[in-house]
């Protein structure tokens, strides 16, 4: 047991190094939530905000399958409103007109990489100073 100090010291050092990122995160102040641009024209989404925040990707995948596989292009939301199931034209085109200030900001914050925009084309954001 002559090496007890070395062994325990090494172990402590190892644990400290391994758990270092966790400590650092706990000690630091969390980054402020992303400043998301609210839609200027629309007041309601097709589903409650809480659902959209957690499950918008599920809804989009369902829309995708309905349009591409089943040829159904119109979505009727809980209020009976009919919207075109289109990422580019409804979600971004009609409501969240600036993808960079809504989709991207939150995805960056959550460190999520999406592949939607590899193919789908985001409409250009409205010119600043234009009627919003």
């Amino acid at each position: 047991m002559r090496d007890r100090a070395v062994i325990l010291g090494g172990l402590a050092l190892f644990l400290a190094a391994v758990t270092w990122p966790a400590w650092r995160t706990l000690a630091s102040t969390p980054p402020p939530p992303p400043d998301l641009q609210r839609p200027a024209g629309a007041t309601r989404c097709v589903a409650p905000a809480a659902f959209m925040r957690a499950s918008h990707m599920t809804l989009l995948v369902e829309w995708r399958d309905r349009v591409v596989r089943d040829g159904v292009r119109t979505y009727v939301d809980a209020d009976g409103r009919e919207v075109a199931m289109s990422l580019s034209e409804t979600c971004v085109g009609a409501c969240h007109t600036d993808k960079a200030k809504f989709c991207d900001r939150c995805h960056d914050y959550a460190r999520v990489t999406v592949t939607c925009w590899n193919c789908h084309v985001a409409p250009p954001p409205p010119a600043p100073g234009g009627a919003r």
Partner: protein
């Protein structure tokens, strides 16, 4: 155990009837479709327009088809081939000189018996009830079996990211990504809006007629009924739905 034998025989009889009924239904699946979309192309009218590219430009603009000049990577939905290349089986000696060497528009034939659909291991391409052969790019795994299966070369593979080669991407229709196959979709998205396919609408000579071939009163049916029309490689049994009126 005579009762047991009777029960067994009854069950065997029912099974035989069910099998026969299933086979009959299987045959019924081969019946003609209720709607059958197709296009008739008036070849002579098209040729008369000379080097017109209206259909190609309209299609490629509407669908964000990249303009890649390198033939190894090129992507095309509709293009022109010399007549005897498009119709290789036609007897070269009997082709009238009015058609020989002349460019004719070629694109996906939306076959009634599409070999591309049969080989797709991901079910990323399929024929709709109206016969339109379409692709789900989300599901395409890029194996290119369909490219090999299509006897018309109608399918292109995206070897490189096509987005930089699309001059002005249209918001209405997505571009594709590297690693997926694409081809003419008979303007499925325009049909849903009640519009004609872009090529048909753009043709200044009105050389293309689109419609439901299953409807005896449709324009496209009338054109085929009235004039002689040929199809590309009919001997392969793919039953193409592009009719070339010559």
């Amino acid at each position: 155990m005579s009762a047991g034998r009777r029960v067994f025989l009854r069950m065997a009889g029912r099974a035989a009837v069910a099998t026969a009924a299933g086979a009959a239904l299987g045959c019924a699946a081969g019946l003609p479709r209720r709607h059958r979309l197709g296009i008739a192309i008036d070849v002579r009218r098209c040729i008369a327009a000379g080097g017109c590219r209206a259909c190609i430009d309209a299609c490629h603009r509407a669908h964000n088809v990249p303009d890649i000049r390198d033939v190894r990577h090129e992507v095309k939905w509709i293009w022109k081939e010399p007549f005897e290349r498009a119709f290789a089986a036609e007897d070269a000696e009997t082709i009238t000189s009015a058609l020989r060497g002349q460019p004719v528009p070629v694109f996906c034939n939306h076959c009634d018996n599409p070999p591309c659909v049969r080989v797709c291991p991901a079910r990323a391409t399929w024929a709709r009830d109206d016969g339109l052969v379409t692709i789900d790019a989300h599901r395409c795994i890029g194996c290119r079996y369909c490219v090999a299966a299509c006897p018309y070369g109608s399918r292109s593979f995206n070897w490189i990211d096509p987005r930089p080669f699309v001059a002005e991407p249209m918001v209405r229709y997505p571009t594709r990504t590297r690693g997926v196959v694409e081809k003419c979709n008979l303007c499925e998205e325009r049909l849903a809006d009640g519009k004609l396919p872009a090529c048909v609408e753009a043709c200044p000579e009105r050389a293309m007629v689109f419609g439901d071939l299953a409807d005896p009163a449709s324009d496209v049916r009338r054109v085929i009924d009235e004039r002689y029309a040929i199809r590309r490689k009919p001997e392969l049994g793919t039953r193409p739905q592009l009719f070339y009126v010559i």
